[in-house]
Amino acid sequence: MASLEAMELVKEYQGHRLLKGITVTIREGEAFALIGPTGSGKTTLIRLLDLLQLPTSGRIIFNGVDVTHNERARLEARRRMACVQQKPVVFTMDVFNNVAYGLKCRHEQGGHIQRKVDNALELVGMQDYRSRNARTLSGGETQRVAIARALVTEPEILFLDEPTANLDPLSTLKVEQVIASVVREQKTAVVMATHDMAQGQRLASRIGVLLDGQIIQVGSPGEIFFSPGSREVAEFVGIENILPGTVIARDGSLLTVDVSGRSVQAVADYAVGDDVYVLIRPEDITFAPSRDISSARNAFGGTITRLTPVGSLMRIEVDCGFTLLGVVTSSSACDLGLDVGREINASFKATATHIIKRWW
């Protein structure tokens, strides 16, 4: 098992600073997801960690050894890692030899190669394709061959750059199952860059949020998605209600926050007078024709200003002195008779809020 540590990694390219001092540790056998929008630097960071590129400054420590600039140490470390790129390429040879390539580079014996390649192909469900020219495979099949090619070397750290980008849902499911089984059964550390937050949540035990070349927050999926540390992370993980306010009262851990002249109750540890943001996930807000139905501490009457169908859900925007965004199922929307201009009651629990400090 291996650990990998990046210290103050900076990468500049043509005058642009792509990574701005990344410090992150990948622990033995963990599944770590790097999430961030397109262009945030995920691929660049993966390439640096996989030792495919040199950083402009900073250090990479693999199992306690600084491998940043020592070419021999880099090759040795790289042979204990593997990477599946966003758009994997296959070599102009059959599937078997594609998968066997890494083993041949390590001068493994023919019998071992045969057995390991067969196992890897079986793991990704491609055992019937071993003699096919790899160039004739579909996108999903190519992705699975690339994963088999990486796994066959039994890496201690597996890097996956957008492993399911451009795949159909069935292929995505298959690839995710393979990744999950690798983490569970082979105890391989997996570092996965993805813009699909739900995928990161499903597969990772820890998540790092990369925004504009910096890791803004690292934590468990629960921490990242329900307790983001900053407004930027909250926006990225889909918390659409970010309400600026000021703490006006405190009773133990129960705060009263003034938001646009209305009082919002929240559970957090802040002092009276602190400027904060109140974060509420849209799915934590319930809607009812009148207040009586709800037992939540926070209940606000307001007017529906917008209804937007999103698949089987309906997005509701309610003006209750501040704008609240929520979602209900389309059938609930029908039952409630929701319509633009109609009065409605929006409520949410004090524990459903998350409070973060507002610095300006």
């Binding site: 996989d50 090759l75 593997a82 070599f91 102009t92 390539y101 890494g102 070397t153």
Partner: protein, 230 residues
């Protein structure tokens, strides 16, 4: 026109009956061109790879110069080689002038720019992700380079075929440094030139047909190889 037709029929007869002189000349041409191309391949594939895989000052200039030399006249190469191997030259005592070795030296010089330039183009045509994938799978520099060359093998093979075509079809160089000596340095092209000037058109046509058949056979082999891989 009748003369040409009769010449064509006579040529077919010479080929079908495996006329010893025709076969000897064709065999020599083939052997010289194949030797030249093999030597050039041994030199130019590593050279082209070195130029492609390394960054250095003047790289673009070298590539441009190489490409310019694609169309260098064969007589210019012939003159250059002649100057170096003639009796009074520094290499004169090696006795290379008017020998098959002189033709091979000239042909190697002639086809080297073509093979080097096309090898560089062939390697440039390989997706950069191939080398990165190889490196990420644990390949060292040599293994990754070998993989890229393997990926470019058909384009490299095409480069060798081009070089072979240029070598077997040149005439000026073989005349100047080979001397067109019967049974020793006479090749298909020099023989065609000589026989035509003598009015022996049948032999010239027969040799011309053999030249075309050789080109066709090589193309068929190349296509077969490509299709088998696909």
């Amino acid at each position: 026109m009748t003369e040409v037709w009769q010449g064509f029929l006579k040529a077919l007869e010479l080929i079908i009956t495996l006329d010893p002189e025709v076969m000897e000349i064709a065999g020599r041409s083939l052997a010289l061109a194949a030797t030249s191309c093999s030597i050039a391949a041994l030199l130019c594939i590593p050279l082209g790879s070195f130029i492609h895989f390394n960054s250095f000052r003047g790289k673009r200039l070298i590539i441009n110069l190489t490409q310019t030399l694609y169309s260098v006249p064969t007589v210019a190469i012939g003159l250059f080689v002649f100057v170096f191997i003639s009796r009074a030259s520094p290499l004169g005592n090696l006795g290379l002038l008017f020998t098959p070795a002189a033709i091979v030296i000239g042909q190697v010089l002639l086809v080297s720019p073509i093979i080097t330039g096309l090898v560089i183009s062939a390697l440039s045509g390989v997706d950069r992700a191939v080398i990165e994938t190889a490196v990420s799978l644990g390949a060292n520099r040599f293994q990754a380079t070998a993989l890229v060359i393997r990926e470019a093998r058909f384009a490299i093979l095409a480069a060798l075929i081009m070089g072979f075509g240029r070598a077997i079809s040149e005439v000026g160089l073989s005349l100047m440094v080979g001397g067109n000596i019967r049974g020793f340095t006479r090749t298909i092209t020099t023989a065609i030139s000589l026989e035509t000037s003598k009015g022996e058109i049948e032999l010239a046509i027969a040799l011309g047909i053999i030249l075309i058949i050789l080109a066709l056979a090589i193309n068929i082999i190349l296509n077969r190889l490509q299709h088998r891989e696909e």
